[in-house]
């Protein structure tokens, strides 16, 4: 694994944008290429060495509402999120990922008794979405998935 590239990727995510049309922070994407033999855990562990991060796995056994709650919980801990995508992203989570990508906040309707709530992504938090290239290309039905992210790290 190219650690220098990973470091640059993290550095790019850490920085907050100065150009005003951009959201303050970007969401990052790590794509594991078909040819890569690197273990997913290894990638997560490498990131863990650089920044405080927690993993969330989005798969068939999870529900969007729970994933959103977990994201809010990790935000409260001021940590980064490594979100491993293993099933096609459903509407609820996709909506929130878009809010995070465009505005760095979650926009929730009827959350804890409030009609319309915006939960800001704290300054020290970032989200790295991790998925395999094959999976993105064949299973993610939202056609503009890559557009949600700023820097992308391709792992070969």
């Amino acid at each position: 694994m190219d650690k220098e590239k990973l470091n640059s990727f993290i550095k790019l995510l850490q920085k907050s944008h100065r150009i005003s049309i951009l959201p303050s922070f970007d969401l990052g994407l790590i794509v594991k290429e078909k040819t890569s033999k690197i273990n997913n855990e290894e990638i997560f562990d490498e990131i863990k060495k650089i920044v405080p991060v927690e993993k969330i796995i989005y798969d068939e056994s999870t529900f969007d509402e729970d994933i959103i709650s977990k994201i809010i919980d990790i935000f409260k801990k001021n940590k980064w999120i490594f979100l491993e995508i293993k099933k096609d992203i459903q509407s609820l989570l996709l909506n929130q990922l878009k809010h995070l990508a465009n505005h760095n906040f979650l926009q929730l309707i009827d959350y804890k008794g409030k009609d319309l709530v915006q939960i800001k992504m704290p300054e020290n938090c970032r989200i790295i979405v991790f998925a395999e290239r094959n999976f993105i290309e064949n299973k993610i039905s939202y056609p503009h998935f890559y557009r949600l992210f700023g820097p992308t790290l391709s792992i070969k």
Binding site: K15, I21, F63, Y142, R147
Partner: protein, 544 residues
């Protein structure tokens, strides 16, 4: 005597005001740059005598712009700040003008245009122009999985255990869910003579039956939730700036439904409820979920739909014709090359946002203070962006995912260039060429699945920066972009004294060259047999 005054008339105060606003809308800077387009005015309401704030929006590229006046909650300072964030591209003002016009007339708007055109960005800015900084519209993003209930309304069971939660979600994700819920909707809608209470009781009974059939408790309690559409119809702004839903007092808010081209037919059917009379938005909608109770749209409720053109989607989703008929349909083409270059120049000369007060960590050269370098970078990145966009149009091999480029990609490179810089080991100065290459890889190339295209674009970038085809004329010489970057970086890296010294040396060199040239010329005159000796004597006396 009377004839003398024919054709002369006095302008009314309204006309004079109109002319003043038009002049401000069309205002340009010393280099012809657009300064107008958006104008803030504070005026006294002639009926109430109350001071009100207005924003005027018009397309400054038009000779006779249509100018729309809208009441705003934003302050003059806020409007000025928002204005600074909008790159004055022709396309941006065309969109803003349409938004203002349709908003004023409560007409739903659908903008179909490529990603780079800035639909989302301008919907956000339009909302800010009306409500103040950092107020975003209620955004709803469509996808193939969008559930109608998220848009309109739903009943949610109060589940006690994880097991019950799992069962409910599994049911919702099953194809059966849509069928069962549609059955309830149909049954409720058929009970035309029933009161709302009776209908609600029926819904409750059916939901309890449903709960039982999927393994939930028969005594499950249900909570009713409005979706994005009714919420936006009845939102009201609180004194603290937050928004609440109020069925009676709600004035409504801006709802932006994005990527409507991806929505499934059932979602479109639900959205058709928003069509009102004479091309306007519906004044109320009726939902079966709350027993047929009508939800009123407040006067400030407005919907803007946006979508990418069908060719940007794999399935070539056309906007549903019924929806297209019920909205003001604005089709936008690709961003012109002129606008693309303008955007690139704005980004790389750092006209948007705040420049760092001190050199940030990682910054070798304060590139944000050197617009002469920014202009050269802008040329390179705009060309690369355009080339890659053209390559994408042909389709990336074996791709389901689309990667339409956005101006944000370019902005990201500019932003990162401030403090992610690589040093040239030989000179100790910024290696701009290498830095730019790296950043373009991260923000443009690493997304590409097609290795062949990636390699081709890498080679193109190298050629553009260092090869013969990328060469352009610079200060009278033909140079590669890398050479130009190196010259500009060297100049910018020098201290004032060093720069003055370098300029002095250069002048000296030029003077020496001129002297040698003059000596050569005089020498050739002296050797010329046709020149009389008397003249040659005079030439000999010339002091160089």
């Amino acid at each position: 005597m009377r004839e003398k005054f024919e054709g002369i008339r006095f302008k009314s105060p309204e006309e004079l005001k109109e002319e003043e606003i038009e002049r401000k809308i069309k205002e340009r800077g010393p280099e012809g740059e657009i300064l107008g387009g958006i104008v803030f005015e504070e005026e006294v309401d002639s009926e109430t005598g109350e001071k009100k704030k207005y924003v005027y929006i018009g397309n400054p590229y038009e000779e006779r712009p249509i100018i729309i006046k809208l009441e705003t909650e934003a302050s003059r300072e806020e409007i000025e700040e928002i204005k600074k964030e909008i790159i004055p591209m022709r396309e941006s003002f065309e969109i803003l003008e349409t938004m203002a016009m349709t908003y004023k007339h409560r007409q739903p708007l659908l903008i179909e245009g490529p990603t780079a055109i800035g639909k989302t960005f301008l919907a956000d800015k339009f909302t800010e122009l009306l409500y103040g900084r950092n107020v975003k519209p209620l955004d709803f993003y469509c996808s193939g999985q969008t559930d109608v209930s998220e848009l309109m309304a739903k009943w949610v069971p109060k589940v006690e255990t994880e097991e019950e939660k799992r069962k409910w979600h599994e049911f919702l994700e099953s194809p059966q869910a849509q069928i069962e819920l549609s059955k309830i909707a149909q049954e409720v809608e058929e009970k035309r003579g029933w009161s709302q209470e009776q209908k609600l009781a029926l819904i409750h009974t059916r939901l309890q039956e449903l709960a039982k059939s999927i393994g939930l408790s028969e005594k499950t309690q249900w909570r009713f939730q409005y979706g994005a559409v009714p919420k936006a119809m009845g939102l009201i702004r609180n004194p603290d700036g937050t928004f609440s839903f109020d069925e009676k007092r709600g004035v409504g808010f801006i709802l932006h439904i994005e990527e409507v081209g991806l929505a499934e037919p059932q979602v479109i059917n639900a959205l058709l409820k928003l069509r009102g009379k004479r091309g306007k938005l519906a004044e109320e909608i009726q939902l079966w979920e709350n027993g047929g109770k009508k939800v009123k749209a407040g006067p400030k409720f407005w919907v803007v739909f946006s979508t990418n053109p069908p060719e940007e989607y794999l399935a070539r989703n056309e906007v549903d014709p019924a929806l297209a008929r019920g909205v003001v349909f604005k089709r936008m083409g690709e961003l012109s090359e002129e606008s693309l270059h303008l955007a690139a120049e704005y980004y790389f000369t750092y006209k948007l946002g705040k420049k760092p007060e001190e050199k940030p960590e990682g910054c070798i050269l304060d590139i944000y203070n050197h617009p002469e370098i920014g202009k050269e970078i802008a040329k390179v990145v705009a060309v690369f962006h355009n080339d890659l966009n053209k390559a994408f149009k042909k389709g990336e091999k074996g791709r389901q995912q689309r990667i339409p480029l956005t101006l944000d990609d370019m902005a990201r490179v500019a932003d990162a260039l401030i403090d992610i810089q690589i040093r040239d080991k030989k000179t100790g100065q910024l290696d701009l060429t290498e830095t730019l290459k790296r950043l373009i890889h991260f923000y443009y190339l690493d997304r590409l699945a097609d290795e062949e295209l990636k390699e081709m674009m890498k080679a193109n970038l190298n050629e553009l920066l260092e090869g013969d085809t990328g060469k352009i004329e610079f200060e009278g010489k033909v140079c590669t972009r890398k050479e130009i970057f190196d010259i500009l970086v060297e100049r910018a890296s020098m201290s004032k004294e060093e720069l003055e010294e370098k300029e002095r040396q250069q002048k000296e060199r030029e003077l020496r060259q001129a002297k040698y040239a003059a000596q050569d010329a005089l020498g050739s005159l002296l050797n010329n047999p046709n020149i009389p000796d008397s003249i040659k004597e005079k030439i000999k006396n010339i002091q160089l």
